[in-house]
C-alpha cells in the first residue's frame, strides 16, 4: 500500500483547491473571494511542483558528478506563474477597491441589490 504516501501530495493539493473554489463560489465577500483565489493558485503550484519531484534527487542546481536532479521545467513555469499571479491578484484587488468606492460595499448581495435598483430606475425612466 505505497499508493497513499505516493499520492498524498496530490490529494492535499486537490483538497486545498476545493477549499479555494468553495470560497470563490459560496462566500459573498469580494475580498475573501480574492483570498480564496490565492489559495486556489497556491494549491495549483503545489500540484505542479509535486509532479516535478524525483525521489532521492538534488535540487536542479548543478553539482559536479551528480546526474539525478528534480525536473526544472515545472519550477520555471511556477516561478513565473507566482509573480504573474501576484500581479493579477493586484488587479483583482484594485477592482474590489473601485467597487467599494462605487457601491459602498464589497458584499455581493448589496451590490446585486444596488444593481437591481439601478436597472429598475432605468426601466421606470423609459418611454
Amino acid at each position: 500500500m505505497n499508493m497513499v504516501p505516493g499520492l498524498f501530495n496530490y490529494w492535499v493539493a486537490v483538497l486545498l483547491m476545493m477549499a479555494g473554489l468553495y470560497v470563490v463560489i459560496a462566500q459573498p465577500n469580494l475580498v475573501k473571494k480574492m483570498v480564496g483565489l490565492a489559495l486556489f493558485q497556491a494549491s495549483v503550484f503545489i500540484f505542479y511542483i509535486s509532479i516535478g519531484k524525483v525521489s532521492g534527487a538534488h535540487a536542479p542546481i548543478f553539482i559536479a558528478g551528480e546526474t539525478l536532479y528534480s525536473n526544472p521545467l515545472p519550477h520555471v513555469l511556477i516561478l513565473t506563474a507566482i509573480v504573474v499571479g501576484v500581479a493579477t491578484t493586484a488587479v483583482g484587488l484594485a477592482l474590489v477597491v473601485r467597487i467599494q468606492e462605487a457601491y459602498g460595499s464589497v458584499e455581493e448581495d448589496d451590490i446585486d441589490a444596488k444593481d437591481r435598483e439601478q436597472s429598475d430606475e432605468d426601466d421606470g425612466g423609459g418611454p
Binding site: H58, A59, I61, I63
Partner: protein
C-alpha cells in the same frame, strides 16, 4: 540529534498554529504569525543542513526578512483600521 530538533520545531509550530487559530485578539494572531515565520526559518536551516539541500541559507535569510516586513505591514494597517475603535476602548479604560 538533528531529527529531534526538527521534531521539536514541528511541535512548536503546531502549538503556534493552535494559538493562531484560537487567538482571541488580532494581536495574538499577529504574534503567532511572526513566530511561525521564525520557526519556518529555523526549520529551513536545520532541515536543510540535515538533508543537504542546496542554497537553503539564502532562502532562510529571505524568509527572515519577509517575516519582519509582513509583521510590520500587519501592525501598520491594523492601526489604520482600528483608529476609531481605539478611541472607544480608551474611553472605556478611563
Amino acid at each position: 540529534m538533528l531529527l529531534a530538533v526538527i521534531l521539536a520545531i514541528l511541535l512548536t509550530m503546531i502549538l503556534i498554529l493552535i494559538r493562531a487559530l484560537l487567538g482571541p485578539t488580532a494581536y495574538d494572531r499577529m504574534l503567532a504569525t511572526n513566530l511561525f515565520g521564525t520557526k519556518i526559518v529555523l526549520l529551513m536551516v536545520v532541515a536543510g543542513h540535515a538533508l543537504g539541500w542546496s542554497s537553503f541559507i539564502d532562502v532562510a535569510l529571505l524568509y527572515a526578512m519577509i517575516n519582519f516586513v509582513s509583521t510590520i505591514a500587519i501592525m501598520r494597517f491594523f492601526e489604520h483600521q482600528g483608529a476609531s475603535s481605539q478611541a472607544a476602548i480608551r474611553e472605556r479604560v478611563k
